[in-house]
């Protein structure tokens, strides 16, 4: 507002104090954002750390006090915890493999000219706009339900016995549902990347004697490598925290067959009301996420060089 006035007063003072006042000004102007960040991220983090070393169970308020590493000890020795880590890894890895693998092939396909390509592109991208709870419900009730589901009807039509997918193969079915949600994202990113491929390069490869497969391996895939790394990184961040799909379809079951780390923490805190144990789980989740992020960032940084 008083830009001119501030400017002249700054000019009038000696250089050192002018610089200091400039810094102060910047600090003051930045502080609202910084304070917000503190309140929204650092405070919850500190509170999680604090609760994770406390005895704090909502069902039994009499049990209080410092727990030391007991919460962590119970968590890490709990067989459910190891299962949930495995499930998380399978979920992330499976969805990544399907969405990136199939996504690359679809991107190559949708880059070719064919009748109705525009409509096909919209159709392949549309699942991305369906929110996770709705998508999971659609699959659970509309498609895979053993009695009313479309697949069950199809199986009965050819004389097969319908499979109760979510109780027989809970984790695999979840991988399928989440991959269905994330495939559009991979296709979208990889399709735009593939469109920037110089057609003369493909023609040069063709003249060099490269067939379709050789062109794909030697020209298209290297061109897509950066985009693929970006897709893997972004998807991993979101896939580590998959929750809605599990909650809506299997609620982590049967048993803990489809419980991932995020759902384990949720069940500790809000089904067993063990705030201390859940907080310990939260801290472990932060560590896991950071380890993964460190590896990913290093891989990405190497790939984005040159």
């Amino acid at each position: 507002m008083d830009k001119v006035a501030v400017h002249t007063s700054v000019m009038a003072r000696p250089a050192a104090s002018a610089a200091r006042s400039r810094r102060l000004q910047g600090f003051v102007l930045q502080s609202p954002a910084i304070v917000l960040l503190l309140v929204w991220s650092v405070v919850p983090l500190l509170m999680t750390l604090w609760y994770s070393v406390r005895n704090y169970n909502l069902v039994d308020p009499t049990q209080q006090g410092f727990a030391g590493i007991n919460n962590y000890w119970y968590l890490l020795t709990d067989p459910d915890f190891m299962t949930s880590l495995e499930n998380t890894a399978i979920l992330v890895g499976g969805v990544l493999a399907i969405s990136v693998g199939l996504g690359t092939l679809l991107a190559v396909l949708y880059n070719e000219e064919f009748a109705g390509r525009g409509i096909a592109r919209i159709l392949v991208i549309s699942p991305f706009f369906i929110m996770p709870t709705v998508a999971a419900l659609l699959w659970k009730n509309l498609m895979l339900h053993p009695i009313y589901g479309v697949y069950s009807a199809m199986m009965r039509a050819v004389g097969l016995t319908p499979v109760d997918w979510l109780s027989r193969y809970p984790l695999a079915t979840l991988v399928m549902i989440v991959a269905w949600e994330w495939l559009p994202f991979a296709v979208l990113i990889l399709l735009t990347a593939i469109q920037s491929l110089d057609t003369e390069q493909k023609e040069a490869a063709r003249m060099d004697g490269a067939g379709m497969v050789a062109q794909f391996i030697n020209i298209t895939l290297p061109h897509l490598s950066r985009a693929i790394t970006v897709v893997i990184m972004i998807e991993t961040i979101f896939l580590l925290t998959v929750f809605a799909e599990i909650s809506v379809t299997t609620a982590g079951g049967p048993g803990v067959a489809s419980t991932n780390l995020a759902f384990l923490i949720y069940s500790r805190a809000l089904l067993q009301f063990d705030v201390g144990g859940a907080s310990a789980g939260g801290v472990v989740a932060i560590v896991v996420a950071n380890v993964v992020a460190a590896f990913l960032l290093r891989a990405v940084a190497r790939n984005l060089e040159t």
Partner: protein, 369 residues
């Protein structure tokens, strides 16, 4: 090395015919240049020969064999693209190795051959570099090297120098010409740059809207353009063209033409043109002589001094502009009147359809051609 024959090649996109029947026989070791304005179909024609575009009708023969339906890689051709189209994630060595590897050549032989080519093109120090680390001229050389290692029967070049700056273009032009002399490979070269066409070609094919306007040696095209299009297209600054009226046919092989203000007799064979018929007089800027006793007068509007030569833009009394090329030491200034003589033995005459009328005398360099 190989011969290439085009028999009435046609290309149709949807309903539009892009190439309207091109026939051409290219001899062994010949350097053929396709020139023409953008959109004339020269690149499409090259891509049809390469196999990157389907041939709608006609036959393409390489060494006498019909290759219309042969895969590009099996035609024994190598192509250098305008954008070079190097593989960005492979180093120079791998770029050149790619086709050999796909062809299943043994490792030792590949190494040997790439080493030889790299030496010819002075690429040895850069074999480990990625294309992104090379300058434009070096990338160009890699693209050429990638074509040479395959030992093709025919080289195809698609405007290979158009991405280089003027100095480098001149240098690469000389390098390409000497490379062609050394390898003796049949070469088809597409360009819109007539200097490249004139300097490198054994024969030039002038294309316009999918039709061949003229095929001939550079000097044939320059001194004996078959029609107005070729006359306008070849030569820089372009030929002066003036609308004239046939005045009279003089029996001993020349025609007198006139405008309101000038009158010229042009050595031309018997044409059968009647007096009063419209025609076009063509004369190149270097064939107009500044002559104080000259019959043609005008006023200098602009003089462009290029150092070695000076280009005078002269307005004739009837308002027509012509360009006169004269020596670099010409001192004439703008807005001064000037008298000129058209060298009659160098004048061209085109009939109302734009076709050149056969001349009764010929350029000394073309005698016997």
């Amino acid at each position: 090395m190989a011969t290439v024959e085009l028999r009435n090649l046609r290309k149709t996109y949807l309903h539009e015919e892009i190439i309207k029947g091109v026939s051409l026989v290219i001899a062994e070791r010949e350097f053929i240049v396709f020139v023409g304005p953008s959109g004339c179909g020269k690149s499409t024609l090259l891509r049809m020969i390469a196999g990157l575009e389907d041939i709608s009708a006609g036959d393409l023969l390489i060494d006498g064999q019909r290759v219309n339906d042969t895969e590009p890689a099996r035609r024994g051709l190598a192509m250098v693209f305008q954008s070079y189209a190097l593989y960005p994630h492979m180093n120079v060595y791998r770029n050149m190795e790619f086709s050999l590897r796909l062809a299943g050549m043994p490792e030792a032989e590949r190494r040997q051959r790439i080493g030889d080519v790299a030496r010819i093109l002075q690429l040895d120090p850069y074999l480990d570099h990625k294309p992104g680390q090379l300058s434009g001229g070096q990338r160009q050389r890699v693209a050429i090297g990638r074509a040479i290692v395959r030992n093709p029967r025919v080289f195809l070049f698609d405007e290979p120098l158009s991405n280089l700056d003027a100095a480098l273009r001149g240098q690469m032009r000389v390098e390409l010409a000497s490379l062609h002399r050394r390898l003796g490979a049949t070469t088809i070269y597409v360009t819109h740059d007539q200097v490249e066409a004139m300097t490198m070609a054994d024969r030039i094919v002038v294309l316009n809207k999918g039709v061949v306007e003229q095929i001939g040696t550079p000097l044939e095209l320059y001194h004996r353009p078959r029609n107005l299009f070729v006359a306008r297209f070849m030569g820089s600054p372009p030929m002066n063209l003036l609308p004239v009226t046939i005045n009279a046919q003089i029996p001993e092989g020349s025609v007198q033409v006139r405008t309101e203000t000038l009158s010229v007799s042009i050595p031309t064979q018997q044409t059968g043109l009647e007096a009063g018929a419209p025609a076009t007089l063509g004369i190149r800027p270097e064939h107009i002589r500044i002559d104080p006793q000259g019959a043609v007068q005008g006023v200098i509007e602009i003089s462009e001094r290029l150092g070695a030569v000076t280009l005078l833009h002269v307005r004739l009394p009837d308002g027509q502009m012509i360009v006169v090329q004269t020596g670099g030491d010409n001192a004439d200034r703008a807005d001064t009147p000037i008298r000129m003589t058209f060298e009659e033995e160098h004048c061209h005459l085109f009939d109302a359809d734009g076709m050149a009328l056969a001349r009764s005398t010929d350029h000394p360099l073309l005698a016997g051609a």
